[in-house]
Symmetry: D2
Subunit: 435 residues, 4 copies
Amino acid sequence: MSTGFFGDIQKIKFEGPDSTNPLAFRHYNPDEMVMGKRMEDHLRFAVAYWHSFVWPGGDPFGGQTFERPWFKDTLDAARLKADVAFEFFQLLGAPYYCFHDADVRPEGRDFKENTANLNAIVDHFEKKQAETGVKLLWGTANLFSHRRYMSGAATNPDPDVFAFAAATVKTCIDATHRLNGENYVLWGGREGYETLLNTNLKQELDQLGRFLNLVVEYKHKIGFKGTILIEPKPQEPTKHQYDYDVATVYGFLKTYGLENEVKLNIEQGHAILAGHSFEHELALANALGVFGSIDMNRNDYQSGWDTDQFPNNVPEMALAYYQVLAGGGFTTGGTNFDSKLRRQSLDPEDLLIGHIGGMDCCARGLKAAARMIEDGALSNPLAERYAGWATDEGKKRLTALSLEDLTQLVESSGLNPQPRSGKQELLENIVNRYV
Amino acid sequence: MSTGFFGDIQKIKFEGPDSTNPLAFRHYNPDEMVMGKRMEDHLRFAVAYWHSFVWPGGDPFGGQTFERPWFKDTLDAARLKADVAFEFFQLLGAPYYCFHDADVRPEGRDFKENTANLNAIVDHFEKKQAETGVKLLWGTANLFSHRRYMSGAATNPDPDVFAFAAATVKTCIDATHRLNGENYVLWGGREGYETLLNTNLKQELDQLGRFLNLVVEYKHKIGFKGTILIEPKPQEPTKHQYDYDVATVYGFLKTYGLENEVKLNIEQGHAILAGHSFEHELALANALGVFGSIDMNRNDYQSGWDTDQFPNNVPEMALAYYQVLAGGGFTTGGTNFDSKLRRQSLDPEDLLIGHIGGMDCCARGLKAAARMIEDGALSNPLAERYAGWATDEGKKRLTALSLEDLTQLVESSGLNPQPRSGKQELLENIVNRYV
Amino acid sequence: MSTGFFGDIQKIKFEGPDSTNPLAFRHYNPDEMVMGKRMEDHLRFAVAYWHSFVWPGGDPFGGQTFERPWFKDTLDAARLKADVAFEFFQLLGAPYYCFHDADVRPEGRDFKENTANLNAIVDHFEKKQAETGVKLLWGTANLFSHRRYMSGAATNPDPDVFAFAAATVKTCIDATHRLNGENYVLWGGREGYETLLNTNLKQELDQLGRFLNLVVEYKHKIGFKGTILIEPKPQEPTKHQYDYDVATVYGFLKTYGLENEVKLNIEQGHAILAGHSFEHELALANALGVFGSIDMNRNDYQSGWDTDQFPNNVPEMALAYYQVLAGGGFTTGGTNFDSKLRRQSLDPEDLLIGHIGGMDCCARGLKAAARMIEDGALSNPLAERYAGWATDEGKKRLTALSLEDLTQLVESSGLNPQPRSGKQELLENIVNRYV
Amino acid sequence: MSTGFFGDIQKIKFEGPDSTNPLAFRHYNPDEMVMGKRMEDHLRFAVAYWHSFVWPGGDPFGGQTFERPWFKDTLDAARLKADVAFEFFQLLGAPYYCFHDADVRPEGRDFKENTANLNAIVDHFEKKQAETGVKLLWGTANLFSHRRYMSGAATNPDPDVFAFAAATVKTCIDATHRLNGENYVLWGGREGYETLLNTNLKQELDQLGRFLNLVVEYKHKIGFKGTILIEPKPQEPTKHQYDYDVATVYGFLKTYGLENEVKLNIEQGHAILAGHSFEHELALANALGVFGSIDMNRNDYQSGWDTDQFPNNVPEMALAYYQVLAGGGFTTGGTNFDSKLRRQSLDPEDLLIGHIGGMDCCARGLKAAARMIEDGALSNPLAERYAGWATDEGKKRLTALSLEDLTQLVESSGLNPQPRSGKQELLENIVNRYV
């Protein structure tokens, strides 16, 4: 029994690169083998419930543009929304979805009603998952939209808000656990400040560290096997967010003893806002051993806010998936489309078209990345560039010689090193052979 | 025997706020007591050798505009430069100066010649310090200008460059120690990358961690009592620098076991480039216990590069010194003017005028900050805002209750917290009472 | 009959710089004479209806935080809102206000209902203006919030939207005329594009040019004596707005023959987003003869979106009012507070506190600017710097000599000009004597 | 007689997309026909003398990294540089080059010596052009590097600098004319300001307008048939440049009566710095009828300065060439590589590799753009979107109806327009079919 929302659109098929059908994949072919694994198993696509089924199309200067039959705050409407969402997952062939509590349930008057509403929808989701085979990549709690969280959730000056947020997270971990979610994500949209003038930085950081430890303890207690993920973002909605970027979050995890318990969900748009490329954040997470999952979208480099557009630049995506593959690929993580339609894209089919384009770009990026890895296109020149450090003498210099030893070495040998070309243009051209 | 460079300009005096003499202080009065300490002892001003005596006025689209008699690469010219510099420190009444090796000595053909040249100038500096009473706030090594460092110093792919850099740092620590420098600074201008394509991030971070450990070991070995300082900067000259910002450096120090050995020298301009306010970086360094010293300048918010202008916005400086004072003030650190004249400011007197304006602004900022602290203008509202956490119940929630306990508490009490005004505008108005 | 919204707060009084009363002016003293004119008549403060009485406190990650009794879409609620607004204008002593149609009336189902609703409120406003003496600085039409305008108003691909927008503007000019508004403003929030891929740039510019000409024709036809103002903004909500900045708007006005009919309403925050300082935009508008009015607020330099904060940096405001005064001051224009409370500032008194702080800062800026002008503090050095152009020889070079004449002059005289110091630091220090 | 600088590298050949030879074209095939024209005649590639043969590899934190045998300030070295440059043009198969006077001649002590030096090199260039068939796309004067121009050239406060600059431009137009240059370019690197405090905006704009008129008059007088081009840039080296962007320059040309005499040379990097996409600037220049030529490079979106990298993102280049072709393609203009090697790219072959990669990307972009145009891939949906304006009723609304007429129309018809999907994602997916 279809809801009819998508009319007579049928399941999206792979038709190959020459297809001009806007409702077909040209590059994403789930069963195609890439580096010995099915493309679907590499990419692990998830649809983000909030952007696709909840966001009304508003921006700071205008309200709702989308008109969806489920835009009402009732349980029935929430179930209709779920039905359309699962239809969408199936039409698209997306193996996973992700949600916040507030995306899926009507807003209650208090904690008790919120919990009851959430559980009613989780019942429905269980059924839909069983019917469709679609799985939950991750669940999360929305601790930023309601006015009670306007001054933060874990980092609120009011201990009551801390408690309310903690209880809410418990219900969301419980829901994720019940739905066999493969990860649980925390995004601290209001964990930061609008002005230092009213902020006790140290106090708030301690609250946040404690909160995260509570989550980790609870996960172990209930036997949730998924990964706990933090999602960095530097600002927006706040002036400054504590989970600024990968490096900041890593320092935070070290400080509160969590670096072995928590991994990172990294978003392209958030990387850009923090002044980094997406591949930088991914490479750094790999280097620090905290890579977990990705939120896939495209930020406009020239808009200073989080535009959450569908990704469409294949050369950039090839570099991102290169880092994902170079780190061994996803384990519990995946590619969550944290992308939303432009607010002028009103038609139901636009939802499919946006995701199809994004999935095709990801597929092209993945394949290019895989070929670069298989050819050693970048790794061979890299190994050669650092070859000096792989020699016994190189290792000795890195680990055994003191400042005085090294000075002695320079003086005695008259060592006067000459620079060698960094070959950036050559490497950029090499990448362009693959994309 | 004056060099005559500054003509007949006499020592700059404090003349009070009504003075219109461009060569007088209107606010900086070294002996004035602020919070029980002389203003000079609070601010601990230092002049940066490089900007004031070395920089020729070039930018990426044009060359030298300044014509200084010491712009030659000989030891004699270097001594003349030193003589002018010490005259300047005295005219200005700056108690401290700071330098890189490459600022003060002619460039040699190799390590040996560099060392000999440096030592010849250190001899001269020793004499000048004794004559004038001017002290060394910090010394440092320039590991970024010479082409041998084009791909990094500690993080170079070539172990020979690592060794050369290490030996050079040893000579600079030795020089700083000999001149009774109160700190030794490391700034990693090339410790980063231009492109990830030719960069082994993990290898380079390990090199940098090792290098810094070598410095700390050597400091202890020779009994240098000064503080080792790192100066964060996110980019420029490189695309990405490993010492991105305070949070990044803190994570790095934790990773390499250095968080108790190294502190931070924080620059306004670098904070801005990293997307932070200066006061944010200072407050965070205080919160993390790694505040050391400041490089004072003003970046143009609308230019995407490091403009290193003399500071001139008093309200911003009041907020910066508020953080400095709130953290207990400087110990070995100070206020180093990492500010340079605009390249059109050709006249010798411009050097004085730039510094005078900066020092007056610092003095105004310091006094405003001190009054805010004495009045509890910001700290009282802050304590009130977080009062809930100071109660026994608040402390219990932060440290003793589990996620389940907190959920139980919310459920049993029907807790439904209501937001309270953050009062940002009120606090901003309060600050404006002081500046 | 007070609405009671502001409790027992009384009319805000000037208490002088030493007052610590948060509900008093410390610098804004309406009757104080500045350069021979009352401060009130210089500054011509207006309150923006939308931010203060309509905005619910939402941002892209959260909804309403403010709870106002008039947040309902009925005529009665709209009248209550108006009553509170006029109480506020009186408490604050603001001589002017500004509004969009959509701020003040309930949203109708169609044009007819919109017009009827607007007229009902204009009736109410007429009465309130007569009762209170508060005047209308400008009116405007909101052509960006409703979904019908999602692809632009004047620049919409659909001629029906163009017509609907035109009719709406007519009703708003009529309302402004009836209320004796001193200006009528156009802000093209959706006159731009999200992507060039679906945009016919030339067609849309021609539509915009025509639209503006229609407005000018109508103004003359009905005898509206106010000034037609355009408000530049580079982006947000759109990716690119046609009214990018002062220079862009000027070129547009020239192209469509409007440069003598239309002036500019310049906002600090929009200037910043376009990569300019506020004073640059003001100075340029003066140079081009199109300065009209200002929207006063403060953008966060480090947030890439339009933060519309209350202004609080006096040195920056002094430079802005310097340009306003240097151009002769306002005629029909004024200082409209296009500033909104932070969404955490929930209390009714916060509305007053925000405006009080802003008005005090404007007053300080104005007074500093006036003193600089009276002293010739900046104009005298400027005249001296360009003195060569004021000589007969200078004038001849600018107007009479050809490229060959000038070459001949250089060759024959062996002219080899030497640069002179630009004295930027000196001038910055001079400004700091006044703020 | 080869200079030997490029060793045994032979003329770069087209080897097709499967080639892995770093010294071959994979996509640029000069004789391949695209939309009925040879690829070479579409793209009209030029090499920029300054970046490739003059720039020493310095940045604000370090000096020369490149070691070239011609880095001496003598006429012999200048001739060697020219010989290497023309060898390079031939190896690469670049049909054009571009230069500033200061790139090609030694710096003289005065105007006379500069002119003599320039003429000596122009003699040499004439011979080299004749020998090789390489042509001059455009010449220009460097009015920004020498200290005499530190406060501007045409906009200098000193009329002597104005005269010196004018005479210099005359010599450069003469040189360009003699060498059959197809355009003459003006880039106002110092025509702007560092601080408004020392700047008379109106005076400087008038100087700039006059200067440009002198150039146009002289061009006509000597019968130079090339196009006069202005190159917009918003800032760097100055805080603000008068030639900010296309829209600003257009307004300026209108103001000084030059809109039919001068066209624009548009650079990707400058567009980015001004907050625009490259395709925006190109589309706007087309819409305003002032498109001339392009400076091809790639700016790092995340570095706030002008990075001038070789272009390497094909999807972006396809959109740029789409605008070029949609406007009818180049007439006298071309694709000048205003791109420089990264300073670590030391090897002579890196110069070739950088250009080869850039040319291949341009070729891919051009071919994709041509196919989109031939298919009407974007133009057909665009025509459909604006179809309402092409009807008689649409035309009437745009040109004949007054504000009252339109209001009457809305009222009488009860017109209530409904929005239609903007289809941005669909269009982005369509573009991705071509790149």
